[in-house]
């Protein structure tokens, strides 16, 4: 069952098309390289100060998340009860539609015409802005990056740096066009204009809408982390504050923030702490106090309980949305956020999107990875993203009836993912309708061919004699016209593989043949031709001696 709505805004027809567009965009390539390099430098600098403490923090953060998920019902009830005890309202929403309905009718009943928003992936996920717009409530993004993206009619391309794909010049001309001001190609001026324009919105807005970074069960406190101050504005000035959170945002105690408030900013931007952290508990206690009169916390499932029930994938719910895996990912670094087709880009998007909107609608994403593991290494809560990518590949490739337990508890096997739809209408619904043939349906021709290839490969490498024969045939084959060294293009269907990968040229004679011919001493002159090696061990190696201890 798809949970998000992805009705319209898919920026390109297919994942492959989106990738091509991104790769051809020189400006985007510069921006991505610049941003991800800067991020890595500041992150590394902030972690090097910590030394081994960083690993202990990550381990602790993960421990807290796992504990909380195992007792999620307990902590959610405790959190909700404490919000209500301190004057807030809690609305439980099964899905996006229910949350949108609640918030729009709340806005209407309070006469709200303008809402100011803090940056929130959750509101992106449920497309709250368009729901509000259809109820004639204007929702203005106030995080500078989100505001830029909203003015441009686009969507964020990074979890923490939404306008990473835009150049300063583009932003300046966007402001000049849309805000009827003259804006020079200058960061300070862009910032000053945004400050002036958005201040006026803050002063007028009847509702402030934010996400939630952490929801503390023992106190009912909402924690919001930011650098700009727009969230402070949105949670202080308007009369009504609406905070949206998915169920996995809850943590048990205030003191657990000791770890999360240290790992989140370090992983996200290399900061020790962000400029602002707001801890908001209930509504104001006296009329003269500053702050909203009403607090509405919307707790959303929107597909999370399905993820929670999958023993292999539930750790996707540990994610604290720092964006570190995006910056570290060699694929994201080249293709940027929009190519991923939905709101969660990068490695975390490749595991969240198929789970949240349906595997059949985002079947390409788990395959868009080299499995290098950089995402896992930088993750502040140690999510095994490569492991889950493999799991999702498995689930997407195998028709439901064939999903083997895959070292999975029996309980899981019984609720294997929905079969991949071969119904064309359903496929059309995909965020990448014309996806790679490698992904998608488990029953397609491409899939059968791939299986056959791997079966032949397995048979070949299991026997030395077959392997030698295959190697000899391959060396012969590369002498054929068109298949020679230099022209790497194989014939269809192998060309689908070699279009983006170089075939290695095989040497004229294999190692085994050379070994046999040399009587166990390869290139007898090798040692003398090499530069002097003063290490006895290396010399022994070069001389072909057995140096195993």
């Amino acid at each position: 069952m798809p949970h998000g709505s992805t009705n319209d805004r898919s920026p390109q027809a297919s994942f492959a098309d989106g990738v091509s567009v991104a790769l051809a965009n020189a400006q985007l390539q510069r921006a991505l390289s610049n941003a991800t390099t800067k991020h890595k430098e500041s992150r590394d600098a902030s972690l090097s100060v910590l030394g081994p403490e960083w690993e202990r923090m990550r381990e602790r953060a993960r421990e807290i998340k796992e504990h909380t998920l195992a007792h999620l019902d307990h902590y959610l009830e405790e959190f909700a009860a404490n919000v209500e005890r301190r004057g807030g309202s809690v609305f439980w929403a099964n899905d996006a539609a229910e949350a949108n309905r609640y918030i729009t009718s709340l806005a209407q009943s309070r006469g709200v015409r303008l809402a100011v928003k803090g940056k929130s992936m959750m509101t992106e996920e449920i497309e709250l802005n368009s729901a509000l717009a259809s109820a004639e409530v204007e929702a203005v993004e106030t995080d500078l990056g989100e505001y830029i993206v909203q003015l441009a009619g686009e969507r964020p391309s990074h979890i923490t740096a939404p306008a990473i794909h835009k150049s300063r010049g583009e932003i300046a001309s966007l402001f000049t066009d849309k805000l009827q001001v003259s804006c020079a190609d200058d960061t300070e001026q862009i910032t000053a204009i945004a400050r002036r324009v958005l201040r006026e919105r803050f002063a007028r807005a009847g509702m402030g809408i934010t996400g939630v970074n952490f929801a503390v069960a023992e106190t009912g406190t909402i924690v919001l982390v930011e650098n700009e101050g727009n969230i402070r504005m949105a949670t202080t000035l308007p009369r009504v504050h609406v905070a949206l959170m998915s169920i996995e945002k809850v943590i048990p105690r205030l003191e657990d923030l000791n770890v999360f408030l240290q790992v989140l900013p370090r992983a996200a931007s290399g900061q020790k702490i962000t400029s602002y952290v707001s801890f908001l508990t209930g509504t104001k206690r006296a009329p003269h106090e500053e702050g909203p009169e009403e607090l509405h916390v919307v707790i959303l499932d929107n597909g999370r309980t399905e993820i929670l029930g999958n023993a292999h994938l539930r750790e996707s719910l540990n994610c604290i949305r720092c964006g570190a895996c995006l910056n570290a990912c060699p694929v994201y670094q080249k293709i940027g956020g929009h190519a991923y087709g939905w709101i969660y880009p990068g490695p975390i998007g490749a595991i969240l999107t198929p789970q949240l909107i349906g595997r059949e609608r985002a079947a390409d994403l788990p395959f868009a990875s080299t499995l290098c593991g950089a995402c896992r290494d930088v993750c502040p809560v140690k999510i095994d993203i490569p492991g889950m990518l493999l799991q999702l590949r498995h689930e997407i490739k195998e028709p439901a009836s064939m999903v083997e337990p895959y070292a999975v508890p029996d309980a899981y096997a019984a609720r294997a993912p929905a079969p991949q739809s071969s119904d064309p209408a359903r496929r059309q619904d995909s965020i990448h309708p014309r996806g790679f043939p490698s992904a998608g349906s488990g029953r397609g021709l491409g899939n059968r061919a791939e299986k056959l290839m791997f079966r032949i490969w397995a048979m070949t490498v299991k026997r030395a004699s077959r392997y030698r024969l295959a190697a000899r045939l391959a060396r012969l084959a590369q002498k054929l016209p068109g298949g020679k060294d230099g022209s790497r293009n194989s014939m269809w269907p192998l060309s689908r593989w070699t279009a983006t990968r170089d075939m290695k040229t095989l040497p004229a004679r294999s190692f085994r043949e050379q070994w046999a011919a040399s009587g166990g001493r390869l290139h007898p002159r090798a040692a003398s031709q090499r530069p002097q090696v003063d290490n006895a061990h290396s010399q022994a190696l070069l001389a072909g001696k057995n140096v195993d201890k």
């Binding site: 921006a31 999620l72 000053a192 400029s275 003269h288 399905e306």
Partner: protein
């Protein structure tokens, strides 16, 4: 018919059972991570160094006169009669600073008086006229605050390890004072500096009310408002203050 809440909680329980990871509830074990300890006499210096590393300004002052001089030096030269907003604690405990500012041709702005609403009106005693009067005062104050060039506040706590100011609601109204003006100046009592975030969480805890209710808002402020959304170039003052100045003075009253 079950409510949404019941449905969602039931799904959570079923999911945890399905994944074989449902456990009887037990509390989370304590974290024994490395806690950096900073010697008491080093707290102020460390606070300053950390704040400066995030583009904040920090200095230590020996007297109110020195603080007053510093504030005066921050006033814009060309702004006619600039508005300086102060919280009530500054007015009450640093009268000399207020006097000094008054001599500088500035207009001083304070948050609307809290006592009228808070002390006179118990629960249930909020008459509509009093409410609307409070609302009117609040609107007036906000309008003027938008014009203020400097907002001066105190801080309830500070964290040395990160250069962070901690402001609580309840006693004082400084959420907007520390947010709307272009320059935020904080008068920080040296006795209110704690070593680290975990010290703060432990320290602030008992100060919450008897039922462990934290204040409606606890705000951490570490340096100026900043953004890197334009080509990853850092720019200050996008929504909040462009500059944050912290003046540390020696304890006149012990930290409560």
């Amino acid at each position: 018919m079950s409510t949404n809440k019941e449905k969602i909680l039931a799904r959570v329980r079923a999911a945890n059972n399905r994944a074989g990871l449902s456990r009887p509830h037990e509390p989370l074990p304590e974290y024994v991570g490395g806690l950096e300890s900073i010697r008491a006499e080093d707290l102020a210096d460390r606070f300053c160094a950390e704040l400066q590393s995030v583009a904040g300004f920090c200095r230590q002052a020996q007297s109110d006169e020195e603080i007053g001089d510093y504030l005066t030096s921050l006033l814009p030269r060309d702004a006619g009669k600039p508005v300086v907003a102060l919280n009530h604690t500054v007015r009450a405990s640093h009268p000399q600073i207020v006097e000094q500012l008054t001599r500088q041709n500035v207009s001083l702005l304070y948050p609307p008086p809290s006592e009228s609403a808070a002390s006179a009106a118990g629960p249930g005693a909020e008459s509509p006229s009093r409410d609307s009067r409070a609302a009117h005062l609040t609107d007036e104050y906000r309008r003027h605050l938008l014009d203020a060039v400097i907002g001066v506040t105190t801080a309830d706590y500070a964290i040395a390890d990160t250069g962070t100011l901690v402001l609580l609601t309840g006693g004082e109204q400084h959420r907007l004072l520390s947010l709307l003006p272009l320059v935020h100046v904080c008068l920080l009592d040296a006795g209110r500096i704690v070593a680290s975030l975990s010290h703060l969480l432990n320290h602030a805890r008992p100060k919450f009310n008897a039922d462990a209710t934290p204040p409606q808002a606890m705000t951490f402020i570490t340096g100026p408002s900043r953004t890197a959304d334009v080509e990853q170039t850092i720019s200050m003052g996008v929504h909040g203050p462009h500059q944050v100045h912290v003046i540390i003075h020696q304890t006149r009253s012990p930290a409560q």
